[in-house]
Symmetry: C2
């Protein structure tokens, strides 16, 4: 099923996250990613939800979201307007033989080494989903020990959903 | 109140997010940030939760999390071991007078320009909370139109919580 990216402005308190995630799990909507953070107005948060859905289900999702208390505005971002990023921290093992090779590979994908402890490197990578997956493929052969991902965040190139509008 | 960073390995389905956020909102625990994403094992997700709490409340939070179905492992990351990052997209207005100035300021903080449309720039910034706030302060005078944030993700430098261990 096609992936759709929804951006929602919501009141900034945790009851909202509970209601939104509860809605999705109760209805069996298939969430691929959900991220939430404050906006330029600290009373308002912006949620980015990526959902696998056909057109009919997508309409349901948007309608149900709009009905929730504390949801201010809901927008689908069409793929041609999508600016999407995720941040990932990956810890890998290294040894004196492959260290230079790993650093070179990470340099090529603009990965930043955040920490070296013992025989492990912790690397920060940002990008769209294609980039993130290619970095995992690059690092797998060395032995990935830990991954933490933020989930996707997105804006529309056309900027149709500022708080003031 | 001091901020504490909790990393939790959970089963990868959205019922968990609903249960965790429901627990926090029902108990009135003060969440500062929550992020969730897949790990190296697609059946397991890692949640990063930043909570404002005194020691007693923090113990309660950890105990309640451990009791939830689908929560596999809960770890507090002490501040001296904390590797923490967030990704932020910011859209600002520019004009022919201040464009070079904005780009120079973003260069200094390693911000990447993702998009230029009309008279707006969309910038990607990653860093810890101090960095993120300093970028907002830098950009405020130009007119921030939109912000989307991922919430914080974190690993321990000591890597005590891989899935296999």
């Amino acid at each position: 099923m096609p992936k759709h990216t929804i951006s929602a402005l919501v009141e900034n308190h945790f009851g909202v996250l509970s209601r939104v995630s509860g809605l999705f799990s109760a209805r069996g909507f298939n969430i691929d990613s959900l991220a939430v953070g404050e906006t330029e107005d600290p009373t308002i948060s912006r949620m980015t939800i990526v959902v696998d859905a056909d057109d009919r289900t997508l309409e349901q999702v948007k309608k149900q979201l709009n009905r929730l208390i504390d949801v201010i505005k809901v927008q689908e971002i069409p793929s041609e307007e999508l600016l999407e990023r995720e941040i990932v921290l990956v810890r890998v093992e290294f040894n004196h033989k492959n260290r230079a090779e790993i650093l070179e590979a990470m340099n090529a994908v603009q990965g930043k080494v955040l920490d070296t402890s013992g025989n492990t490197l912790t690397i920060e990578v940002t990008g769209d989903q294609t980039k993130v997956h290619s970095v995992f493929e690059l690092l797998k052969p060395y032995g990935i020990l830990e991954i933490v991902r933020s989930g996707r965040i997105a804006l529309s190139r056309k900027g149709k959903m500022s708080i003031k509008s």
